[in-house]
């Protein structure tokens, strides 16, 4: 459900499975533990293995963004699938998205 890759104060949390209201609690507890322990300057949420996320995921990301900013850090979200990225854009958090490298000019 959650794998942590630690590179000093840059942490990557690779989430997997579905993120909804039911599962958000567990992700929240696990991520808060990582944040409290590592006080990351950058927390990267890798959603590459997340097959589904609704707006419960926005609550999850926003809450962790607050927690990370309290310890002076930032959050980035990478590998979000199309619809998940769309939910994130709708929430106004698109500045957190690491967009995949563009191959075509636009």
């Amino acid at each position: 459900m959650l794998k942590i890759y630690n590179d000093g104060r840059r942490i990557t949390a690779a989430l997997s499975g579905d993120i909804d209201h039911h599962t958000a609690r567990e992700f929240r507890a696990a991520l808060d533990e990582v944040i409290a322990r590592s006080r990351p300057e950058l927390l990267i949420l890798d959603l590459g293995e997340v097959g589904f996320m609704d707006s419960s995921g926005i609550g999850l990301i926003l809450g962790r963004l607050r927690a990370v900013r309290e310890v002076g850090g930032e959050i980035l979200v990478k590998n979000a699938q199309n619809e998940i990225a769309e939910v994130i854009r709708l929430s106004g958090l698109s500045m957190l998205l690491v967009e995949p490298k563009q191959t075509a000019k636009n």
């Binding site: 909804d20 589904f52 609704d54 609550g59 939910v87």
Partner: protein, 150 residues
């Protein structure tokens, strides 16, 4: 002209958070007969998940109850999914549908974006609600048929 009803299905389940995934899988399974795209399936699952979560988190906030989901497919490839609860209802639907509006306590970390997401992913979202009686959300989406113009 009345649209021809091709198929329908109803699912009833208790308002437990574990049933959020069940409801969206059921909706995705029903939609499969329309030969949907991956994007259409993802859109339907996301919208259904939002509506069902609302019923569980808000409709039945202080009580237990059942959520009923009815799915209908019409001949023009339009899908209607109705999510109904007999919970406490929404006093002001217009206000509830505003982005970032939520009545949930802050520690529950609800974003208030449920209706925004439903409206973004579906063609139409209709909400009927009576305080003390419950809420009925109808999601409508016309799926592309092979041969439709882009």
């Amino acid at each position: 002209m009345r649209k021809e009803l091709i198929n329908q299905c109803a699912v009833r389940f208790p308002a437990l958070s574990r049933n959020e995934s069940l409801s969206r899988s059921a909706a995705a399974s029903f939609a499969l007969q329309c030969d949907p795209t991956v994007e259409e399936i993802a859109a339907i699952k996301t919208a259904v998940s939002e509506a069902v979560t609302n019923a569980i988190v808000h409709g039945y906030r202080d009580c237990e109850g059942m959520v009923e989901m009815t799915m209908k497919l019409y001949g023009d490839n339009t899908l209607y999914i109705q999510i109904k609860d007999k919970g406490r209802g929404i006093p002001n639907v217009k206000e509830a549908m505003q982005p970032a509006f939520t009545t949930a306590p802050a520690d529950e970390e609800r974003s208030g974006l449920g209706f925004t997401v439903m409206e973004s992913f579906m063609d139409k979202v209709r909400v009927r609600s009576t305080e003390g009686r419950g809420t009925c959300v109808t999601l409508e989406k016309r799926l592309r048929k092979k041969g439709d113009d882009d």
